[in-house]
């Protein structure tokens, strides 16, 4: 993403014009645009005019529309963002108040203005989005016998591209061949699908993770196939096919993959491996149960109030899903929390909800904190908590009280 123009006053009002360049930028835009914002972007609109005789003619026109956002819809697989809203500025074809859904396109500017002004988190998102030194995408196949998940790990997202399930006959006495045949078939399907989603000849790591020998078998299969077909590009890329151990073929095993030594040497300081590490640290502390690790909105808020998340190891982990709240008040609540932690000298980490670590955090209510000193009994007066928690989940998801 490129920053084309920034025009922000001291009080936070003003506009920012951005230029998305790659699908990942749509994800940033998704985190940036919130309901009630004003968004200006180019659009194609069908205009229907009625003649004097009652006959109608319709034509498509390119217009630049300014809309007041009411809904946002993001498709992570296609990297498309649809922003719905009401037109806020009249022009030759469209009147104020008409509904329109803008499909943000790559390589087309859009301008955003926040109703409540630009807060620190939003500006952080912009800063993150326009960062130039990006880590590349790492494709990974998490598999077990008969199941493979092909996914792409980008800096901010883990995108599940395809899930493959094939039936493999189990071993039975006298039918050993069936199982081997089933495995070959499974590898064949997986490789075909993988090739369709990922260019396996690119010189970047390709993670193959599985329990047991499935991933090693798959790596061997890829190499055998390449040798058979004389595919030099794949053969030369052999060093980048990294076989990693995971405990299962389900996607949530990806966190084991990301913290395995094989991967860490290759992708040491990527954002996601850092996030994963933070989550692990938190889990370790939680296991100890010494009052230094807390999760859940109310508890963490209380801890921050008491200044426990501050200088010297205090970390606030917060899922960016919380900032997507439809209600202004909720967002504000989290922004103040983040600001307070930063003020205290603690570290505030906004975890991507589209990553494994973010998903784990979401399980804990979307927010967790590592405290500098132990605190007990943060989880009293739970009745009050119940009410508040409903606000936490913006889309009214099934999640309910977790603590």
């Amino acid at each position: 993403m490129r920053l084309i123009k920034q025009n922000i006053e001291r009080d936070g009002s003003g506009t920012i014009t951005l230029f998305p360049e790659e699908p990942e930028d749509m994800w940033h835009a998704y985190n940036l645009i919130a309901p009630t914002d004003l968004l200006r972007a180019s659009a194609i609109r069908k205009i229907t005019t009625e003649g004097v005789t009652g006959s109608t003619t319709s034509k498509r026109v390119h217009v630049t529309l300014l809309i007041r956002v009411t809904s946002i819809d993001f498709d992570p697989q296609a990297g498309q963002l649809h922003v719905g809203g009401k037109v806020a500025e009249e022009n030759k074809w469209v009147g104020v108040g008409a509904h329109h859904t803008l499909d943000l396109e790559l390589n087309r500017n859009f301008t955003l203005e926040k109703k409540e002004g630009w807060d620190s988190v939003a500006l952080d998102v912009v800063r993150e989005a326009i960062k130039q030194d990006k880590e590349g995408t790492v494709p990974a196949v998490v598999m077990q016998e008969g199941l493979a998940n092909i996914c792409l790990i980008t800096e901010h997202q883990t995108i599940l591209k395809q899930r493959i399930e094939t039936g493999i006959p189990k071993k039975r006495s006298g039918r050993a061949g069936d199982h081997d045949k089933g495995m070959t078939k499974f590898f064949e399907v997986t490789l075909e699908t993988l090739k369709r989603h990922v260019d396996i000849t690119l010189p970047r790591p390709l993670l193959l993770a599985s329990p047991g020998f499935t991933a090693a078998g798959f790596q061997k299969y890829i190499m055998d196939e390449a040798t058979r077909l004389g595919d030099k590009a794949v053969l030369a890329n052999k060093g980048n096919l990294v076989v990693v151990h995971s405990s299962s073929g389900h996607l949530h095993s990806l966190n084991e993959v990301l913290k395995s030594p094989e991967v860490l040497t290759k992708l040491k300081d990527t954002k996601y491996s850092k996030e994963t590490r933070f989550m692990d640290d938190f889990m370790t502390l939680l296991r100890k149960d010494d009052g230094r690790a807390w999760y859940g909105p109310t508890e963490v808020e209380k801890a921050v109030e008491k200044g426990a998340v501050g200088r010297g190891g205090g970390v606030l982990l917060i899922s960016n899903a919380l900032f997507r709240s439809q209600e202004i008040g909720t967002r504000k609540r989290w922004v103040t929390l983040v600001d307070k932690v930063k003020e205290d000298g603690g570290e505030a980490r906004i975890l991507s909800s589209d990553h494994e670590s973010g998903v784990r955090l979401e399980g804990l209510g979307g927010i967790a904190a590592i405290l500098t000193f132990p605190l007990e009994d943060l989880d009293e007066d739970e009745d009050e908590e119940q009410d508040e928690e409903k606000e936490v989940f913006p889309n009214g998801t099934k999640q309910e009280s977790i603590i």
């Binding site: 008969g146 399930e165 039936g167 006959p169 189990k170 071993k171 039975r172 006495s173 006298g174 039918r175 050993a176 069936d178 199982h179 081997d180 329990p211 047991g212 020998f213 078998g217 151990h245 995971s246 405990s247 299962s248 389900h250 996607l251 949530h252 095993s253 966190n255 084991e256 889990m283 939680l286 296991r287 149960d289 807390w294 999760y295 859940g296 998903v359 784990r360 399980g363 804990l364 209510g365 989880d379 739970e382 099934k398 999640q399 309910e400 009280s401 977790i402 603590i403």
Partner: protein, 729 residues
Amino acid sequence: MRLGTIAVREALPPTAAYVTDKEIQEPLWHYYYDVEKSVAYLVSKHTPKLKMAKKENVKVKGNVQGSRNDECSNPFSVKDFFGDMPWLNIPLGRQATFIAPLYPRGGLLGGSPDGVPKMSKLQVLAAARKKKAQEQKSSGSTLVEAPMANLTLDSSKSREPKAGSSSRGFPQRKRKDSNPHEKAPTPVKRESSKAESQDSPMETPPPDQAEPSAFANTMFSTPPKPAQQPDSFFTLPYNATPIANTDPFAGPSPDDVVMAAQSKASGKGGKGPPKTNGEKRAEQIANGVEALKMDDTPRARSKNLDVLAEFEKAETKNAANFVVIGHVDAGKSTLMGRLLYDLKVVDQRTIDRYKREAEKMGKSSFALAWVLDQGSEERARGVTIDIATNKFETAKTAFTILDAPGHRDFIPNMIAGASQADFAVLVIDASTGSFESGLKGQTKEHALLVRSMGVQRIITAINKLDTVSWSQERFDEIRTQISSFLTTAGFLAKNLAFIPCSGLHGDFIARRSTEEAAKWYTGPTLVEELDNSEPVHRALTKPLRLTISDVFRGGIQNPLSISGRIEAGSLQNGDALLIQPASQKCFIKALEIDNAAVDWAVAGQNVVIHLSGIEEQYVKVGDVVSSPASPIRNVKELVCKVLAFEVLVPMSVEVIRGRLSVAGRIVGILGVLDKGTGEVVGGKKKVRVVKPGQLARVKVELERGVPLEAPGRVVLRSGGETVAAGLLE
């Protein structure tokens, strides 16, 4: 050359005068000045000349071939060339004599194309009857119909050329197959078969001619055999009669003319006509009937047995399943291999073969394990990957061994095995250091898992005692440690048994030890101890439940088969089943127990079910089979009471029940329970963390709907470790 040219020119008719000298000379040269052959060649080459040339041949007797022509008034040479078009040269006279006697014969033979008309009459009758009886079913009949139509055409076709030859007056064109092709303006798709039949009348009929015989099968007990088709000399005269003087070129379509003529002359040659319309219709109906039949066959008919009564009647041995568990490389597979070998379930030859092969791979000590480790990867790596099932019988009981993998990566497979087991055999490596590492590793995890899967009884086989020279101290040490561990895990002391043994050598497995050092042990051997197991009560009267442990192709007859252990209820041939989570209904085509076909099966038995009426994609390992009358439901969220092995917080877990494994997430901890009373402890206070050893009620949300129901036993795993196990609520 010159003379030859003149001779040929003489032989050629005046109409063929346009043939140049050069054209004549060329064949002459090639035939070594054989005038006769040259003429024949020219005749064949320049069709307009043909008849004239022939006439000349007949007339001019001064030629070389003259003497032969005298006898049969037929140019032998031409006959040679048109050997496969015999009608060309058959004299009218001969045809006339042949027809009468041959006609009925041809019909009776029923094999050649001529036979078909005979058939068709019956078909028409059948068609009429069928039509009354039922609606015509045309779907799918077209395919079979085509070859049949071909047949019809063929017979009429062989008639046409006859017509040509008998009238002799019109010019024959070119040679061989070109002539029938051009004559008949019939549909294009039949062209090929036509050409075939014309080209080589002697050949066995084309394969598509065989098709109608299948049809005929349904109509007649004996199918017509087109293979018996007599040579064309035989068929032709018979065919020729009705249309002897028809000029195929005069009519719009020779086929039509033939058909029309035949239909008029109903008595004699008129058996063909109804073929065109009636026969097709009849065939369609017949095909429809056949198609209906095909639908019916796969569904096995239920004998409506009272399975429970049958089970009471059948005096079967006690059946027991046991799972063999233990740390990786404790010698589980080898121990079981030895057991099967000593009980003569596996013969000496097989073992010898395994030994040879294992030695070749440099793993001679693995030979016995190969009895159970059948997979190529398992053998190459020397590790059991998946559950192996094997059977053996003692005097009292029929046992099924479930040999579980010890490696921690394959614990889901081990759970699948343990969920089918009535009791467990825990194998422990007694050699120095191995026992200690095992206790920390899978020895402990496996024991806890089988306990949480509901296994009550555990036999501990302390293996590899030969490596510590049958030291009794070692045995007692291990015994004390294990029994204290198992009692804390919830096993009752009376349900524990300890046996020293050596899987590699076979001491105290099926026989007593011959070792001097092992004389101190006087207890039962492993097999004797196994036999002490009490019969287990089965849930026979409950609704049917079976978790599919394998989906495979059971052979050509059975494209889709499943296997598994019936957990509850009973089933019999022809029963309807419901497969969850796909919610697909299907039927039992056949049942097998221990490779023998049976009519019914009850809970506790390991059964192979051949299915019908379902696609493969709906049946997966881990799916649950239930009866449509009392189906199991798919759930996406479950509440279970679990015993925590590790710290439980809201997190991603894998929910495993038997072969079923699904990703999920603990979304809430509803409370920590008191182990004795099951009451929630700590009042209303919310629980953030469940510590190891605590009993808690948790809510788990699943990635997709799966068939689970109370009181099922589930295991929760996360990050390669078993974090909790418990009961569904």
